[in-house]
């Protein structure tokens, strides 16, 4: 029983035809063609599919597409310059990621943190990204880069 939903994806209202049991992750990737949220576990354990739903980070594999009807979804492609300020630069400059598969989810989680906590402690960064599994990096360079981005913002602000 397919149905049409309207989801505002990265600022653009999209009318999408979905099955009621399609998860938002599949709707984004397959129906809407937004590929940065990744399929890692499909049960809410790994965080690779993290997106912002009305500004809050959620695992898009745990949300049905129809639940997002009438709501805003933001992926890493749609983060605005203010949210990203310094973050991408620090992550690249510090070689924070390796395989990169977890990166879109972690960037979302980190941007959300910096949005409400401009001067996070190391522990706050660890908590903010604790739902995003990374097998390559040991997390340290990612945490360092998020802290460096926060530092950079306070210097330039």
């Amino acid at each position: 029983m397919k149905t049409d939903v309207t989801i505002t994806i990265n600022g653009e209202p999209r009318i999408l035809t979905v099955e009621p049991n399609d998860v938002l992750l599949d709707v984004l990737r397959t129906t809407a063609g937004v590929k940065s949220p990744k399929i890692g576990c499909e049960r809410g354990d790994c965080g690779s599919c993290t997106v912002l739903l009305d500004g809050k980070s959620v695992r898009s594999c745990l949300v049905l597409g129809i639940e997002a009807d009438g709501h805003d979804v933001t992926t890493v492609e749609g983060l605005d310059d203010a949210a990203l300020a310094g973050l991408e630069h620090a992550l690249v400059a510090m070689n924070a990621f390796q395989c990169g598969f977890c990166a879109p989810g972690i960037v979302i989680a980190a941007a959300e943190l910096l949005g409400h906590e401009p001067h996070p402690t190391r522990e706050q960064v660890q908590h903010a990204i604790a739902g995003n599994l990374c097998r390559c990096t040991g997390y340290e360079p990612i945490i360092d880069a998020v802290l460096a981005a926060a530092e950079e913002r306070s210097v330039t602000a």
Partner: protein, 268 residues
Amino acid sequence: MRILAGGTDLVPWLRDDLITPDLVVDIKRLPGLGDLDVVDGALRIGALVTFADLVASPLIAKFLPMLGEAAGTVGSVGIRHRATLVGNICSAVPSCDSGPPLLVHEAMVHVIGSEGGRVVPIREWFLGPKQTVLDRGELVAHVTVPIPPVPRGAAFVRLSRYAGEDLAQASVAVLSLPEGEWRVAFGALAPTPVRAPAVEAALSGRQANDGAIADALRLVPDAIAPITDMRASKEYRMAMAGVMLRRALHLAETRRAGAGPAYGTAVM
């Protein structure tokens, strides 16, 4: 029929065909289920209130800080943004983190259905793993939690395999109230979260000193019925229940005295 609120349990269960409901009803657009307020000396927590809401709530911090402490241990940020306290007690897994705090706070579960409403004391709520008294066609509108009298102190102590997102291997909630009243509940140590009345009786009227704690700990094995599963062995759970209760009693007592580590500080 299944009710969908946060979906953090329901959606993966659907995906794995662990449940095959003919109908899933999303309640997120029903009015009035998102309330988090004080009504008649109790906190009312609506069915749509998420763990993130609880962590951020000044009312929770002021009146039920231990519930906030427990909420902060659930999943991770992205889970807490969706998962609800009401959904947690409806899923009713033995490790359910809201179970022990609600038990010691003697919460009431407000159920509505086509036949009208009913109010179920949390002690009567859980029937077994993933089983509650909720009938088909009913849903939980909200939970009310009485604001405990002062001075009070509480602690939620949780054991898991590591600090990151994990289901509890064991949990203990302790509430210390005026006139030497103690309330104790355990999670993941029996088929459901359980109160421990005998343990409470041994503590009643006493300070949490070595003697009282020793008396309480002796009664722990009879208060719980842990099993061996993927997350921990029965032996480890049994051994840790005592360690956790001792630490929780100390925490609650020092907090009642206005000292002790802030709510949310891990002690395991």
